[in-house]
């Protein structure tokens, strides 16, 4: 039996170490580094697609009055901007980093299920082909916000089933990716790499993967109910048939709240790698960091209705969701404290990854605190659906998740390319980004507290000044990111050779392999001291 199959198998398997060239390589590679690179390039591309949509939004909001777009198209812009940034930019960036770094950090030769790994990537790619082409359908893209609330979303045109199916594909891609991460971490660690010796980035991804598996199917179920309500006369969200539109909000936010942690937990992991390196000290309270991530992940499942306070809920519900939400500040506070304590009496230096990590520390904390304000149900009645909410989640996502990802790129880029990058240029990128991100989002706190509603293309004239400031910040921020691309391209093409350790105080297995990391690493499991 085995001979009959053996010859067939050998024909399919390319010889070890050999890799196809050109486009074929990227279509067929099962190498975790290739796939990680594809995820990262895809993510950067989507960051610019979503960013362009954001700039169109800010251009419209530069002045009061309708300048550029009709309100319907404006709503499509906000919706597609959000979907692209969440599912196309931030999540794939962290998946790309996971692909590249988890096998290197745990001493594995590759991800556990390499073909499924490639499947996850290309599924995501085609999901976005479907989503973005929906912009060109009659009636335009979905315009009900990324939350897709019915009954509004059920008024979408031909784009609607495309958006739903693209979410199904993204979900399948995420679930397969998450299964791969879990199996790799549980099953592929080098001997001696016990769970509590794993680097914190790997730990953060292990927990994130569980969140993904638990909530992506729920989202898939929710959008499936939307689809059948739209096309097959079901009544899940239709009161006339005994259903309730609020049901969708519960289903969506049961997914949606863990989803925002899916974006931020890997960011925590990255920052936990960077700060010790540039403090030249081990992380303070390693185990507490692990337990804090696990607690945050658990709490993320029991706070979802804080997104729905104004929908109306019993007092007991408001109390429960207020208090459970505020509880998240405890493990998050542990993390902020430990990052700070890691720097205490450390020998600090301020290379670009550290700058982004420090900026993360301050600015993410601002977003965290505004989150605490929003958690208080009676206060939330005032803030709900204002620009204060927009300011809050952009602070946790942009100077939060995106800064950590950029810091991670600056941290590991020499390991990927084998070249040192232009430190001056990177610092310019950092300072411009940090300044403009605050010019862009900080005034939105004022706008929101003054009562400016979100998702509106026009506004009362008293909001004009801060909107103009915010739009200037947006264009400054967007243009600054061109520096980032230029720097990455330059670094990929050449530069001073990087050593294996790259930094002064490298720690962890990824710094024991040469830079650039060879195509195959740890084919023989490393020995751990």
């Amino acid at each position: 039996m085995s001979t009959a199959y053996g010859s067939g198998t050998a024909g399919h398997v390319a010889h070890h170490g050999e890799r196809p060239r050109g486009l074929g390589r990227w279509l067929t590679t099962t190498n975790h580094k290739d796939i990680g690179t594809m995820y990262l390039v895809f993510s950067l591309t989507m960051f610019f697609v979503g960013g362009t949509l954001a700039l169109l939004i800010r251009a419209e909001l530069f002045q009061p009055g309708l300048q550029l777009f009709n309100p319907g198209f404006f709503n499509q812009l906000t919706t597609v901007h959000a979907l692209v940034m969440v599912f196309g930019a931030v999540m794939p960036a962290t998946v790309g980093l996971a692909n590249w770094m988890i096998p290197l950090q745990i001493g594995a030769a590759d991800m556990a299920l390499p073909r499924m790994n490639l499947f996850s990537f290309w599924l995501l790619f085609f999901a976005f082909v479907l989503l973005i082409s929906s912009l060109f359908m009659p009636g335009g893209a979905p315009a009900a916000g990324w939350t897709l609330y019915p009954p509004l979303v059920l008024q979408s045109g031909s784009a609607f089933p495309m958006a739903v199916f693209s979410i199904h594909l993204m979900g399948a891609s995420s679930i397969m990716g998450a299964i791969n991460v879990i199996v790799t971490i549980i099953n592929m660690r080098a001997p001696g790499m016990t769970l509590l010796k794993m680097p914190l980035f790997t730990w953060s991804w292990l927990i994130t993967a569980y969140l993904l598996i638990a909530v992506m199917p729920v989202f898939a179920g929710g959008v499936t109910m939307l689809l059948t309500d739209y096309f097959f006369k079901t009544s899940f969200f239709n009161a006339a048939g005994g259903g309730d539109p609020v049901l969708f909000q519960h289903v969506f936010w049961f997914f949606g709240h863990p989803e925002v942690y899916i974006m931020i937990l890997p960011a925590f992991g990255i920052v936990s790698e960077i700060i010790p390196t540039f403090s030249r000290k081990p992380i303070f309270g390693y185990e507490a960091m692990v337990y804090a991530i696990a607690s945050i992940a658990f709490l993320s499942f029991i706070v979802w209705a804080h997104h729905m306070f104004t929908v109306g809920m019993p007092l007991a519900g408001q109390l429960f969701f207020t208090l459970s939400t505020m509880l998240i500040a405890v493990p998050t506070g542990v993390k902020i404290f430990n990052w700070t304590a890691t720097m205490w009496r450390g020998s600090l230096s301020f290379e670009p990854p550290m700058l982004f990590a420090l900026s993360f520390l301050f600015l993410f904390t601002i977003g965290g605190f505004s989150g605490l304000m929003l958690a208080i149900a009676p206060a939330d009645f005032q803030y709900h659906d204002t620009y204060f909410v927009v300011a809050h989640f952009h602070y946790v996502l942009v100077p939060g998740a995106v800064f950590a990802i950029m810091g991670g790129v600056y941290y590991w880029l020499p390991k990927w390319t084998g070249h040192r990058y232009d430190m001056e240029l990177a610092k310019w990128h950092f300072w411009l980004t940090t300044i403009f991100v605050n010019v862009l989002f900080f005034p939105q706190h004022f706008l929101g507290l003054a009562g400016m509603p979100r998702r509106i293309p026009d506004y009362a004239t008293q909001f004009a000044d801060w909107n103009m400031v915010s739009s200037i910040g947006a264009f400054g921020f967007g243009l600054s990111q061109l520096l980032f691309v230029w720097l990455i391209v330059k670094c990929a093409r050449g530069g001073a050779p990087a050593t294996a350790g790259v930094w002064d105080w490298p720690h962890g297995l990824e710094w024991t392999v040469p830079s650039p990391a060879p195509y195959h690493t740890f084919e023989k499991a490393p020995e751990l001291k």
Binding site: G6, L123, P161, I182
Partner: protein
């Protein structure tokens, strides 16, 4: 021969080097989904694209599982690879559990919250004023009395008729697959083949009964997807379950054919176990359906 080299080294984890299948699979799913969207939007060629996507997907499954089976038969997989597959299958089933959880949540939400609210319970007295004649019991097709019949009436399928028969069929199939598994472990290949065949025959019988029940509901009882929240939850839950039984039964047939070809040993038969896990999973979901959708 690369395969043989690996086979001689049981310490080496097998990594495939390059594969066209994932890209092809992604294109297949894209064609399938684009076709489905076009069909729903009423585009003329949509159904053809959908059909093409479905065929492509079937070919994908054939090629992909074929590759894995060939690699396995060639002895490329060691125990560590086996553990990866086990964990992968386990977490895949967990994701399926969460998918069904969303629809069960919709059912419980409607029964415990939205329907009583529509009847004016709690602080929702206004809704009670809107529809004073609405009887907020269960089952219900809502205050709008949505039904294919003109008078808004419909009937439901009693639990202790065909659904109880179906419960017996699936529970028995859970038993037969366990017997088959024991036979596999003891090396009784004849018993294995018989009881595995019995299992998927029971599965297909279940599907036949379910199809008959659907026909009855659609044509005679006025119970359809559009029959309010009861029809919605009833058909979506039992429909997705039926889809999973179909997939599970096809998986059982594949495993059975592999048994006929002499695959598997008493100690190594993960594919069999994975299908058995999946089959028990659809069994447990059915128990939940029988209790909460049909019975209570």
């Amino acid at each position: 021969m690369a395969a043989a080299e690996h086979a001689r080294d049981p310490g080496q984890y097998y990594f495939p080097h390059g594969s066209r299948l994932p890209f092809y699979g992604s294109v297949s799913l894209f064609v399938l989904m684009a076709g489905a969207a076009a069909t729903l939007n009423g585009a003329g060629a949509g159904a053809w694209v959908l059909g093409l996507g479905f065929v492509m997907l079937c070919v994908l499954f054939f090629l992909w599982f074929g590759t894995v089976i060939h690699e396995n038969q060639a002895g490329l997989y060691n125990e560590q690879v086996d553990r990866s597959f086990r964990m992968g299958m386990m977490w895949f089933i967990f994701s399926e559990v969460m998918f069904f959880a969303a629809f069960f949540a919709a059912l419980f939400y409607a029964r415990q919250l939205s329907v009583p609210w529509l009847g004016g319970e709690g602080e929702k007295a206004v809704t009670g004023l809107l529809w004073p004649d609405f009887d907020a019991g269960w089952p219900t097709n809502g205050p709008g009395a949505l039904s294919p019949r003109d008078d808004g009436s419909y009937e439901i399928i009693p639990a202790f008729g065909l659904p109880a028969v179906n419960t017996a069929l699936l529970l028995t199939s859970g038993l037969t697959i366990t017997i088959a598994h024991h036979a596999m472990k003891m090396g009784h290949r004849g018993m294995l083949k018989i009881f595995l065949a019995l299992t998927f025959l029971l599965g297909f019988t279940f599907l036949g009964v379910q199809a008959r029940e659907y026909g009855h509901a659609y044509h005679e009882l006025g119970l359809q997807l559009g029959t309010g929240i009861y029809g919605s939850t009833f058909f979506m839950l039992t429909g997705f379950h039926g889809l999973h039984v179909t997939v599970g039964a096809i998986m059982l047939v594949v495993i059975w054919l592999r048994c006929l070809k002499g695959h598997f040993t008493p100690r190594q038969h993960f594919a069999f176990e994975a299908v058995a896990w999946y089959w028990h999973f659809v069994d447990v979901v059915w128990l939940g359906l029988f209790i909460f959708v049909y019975w209570l």
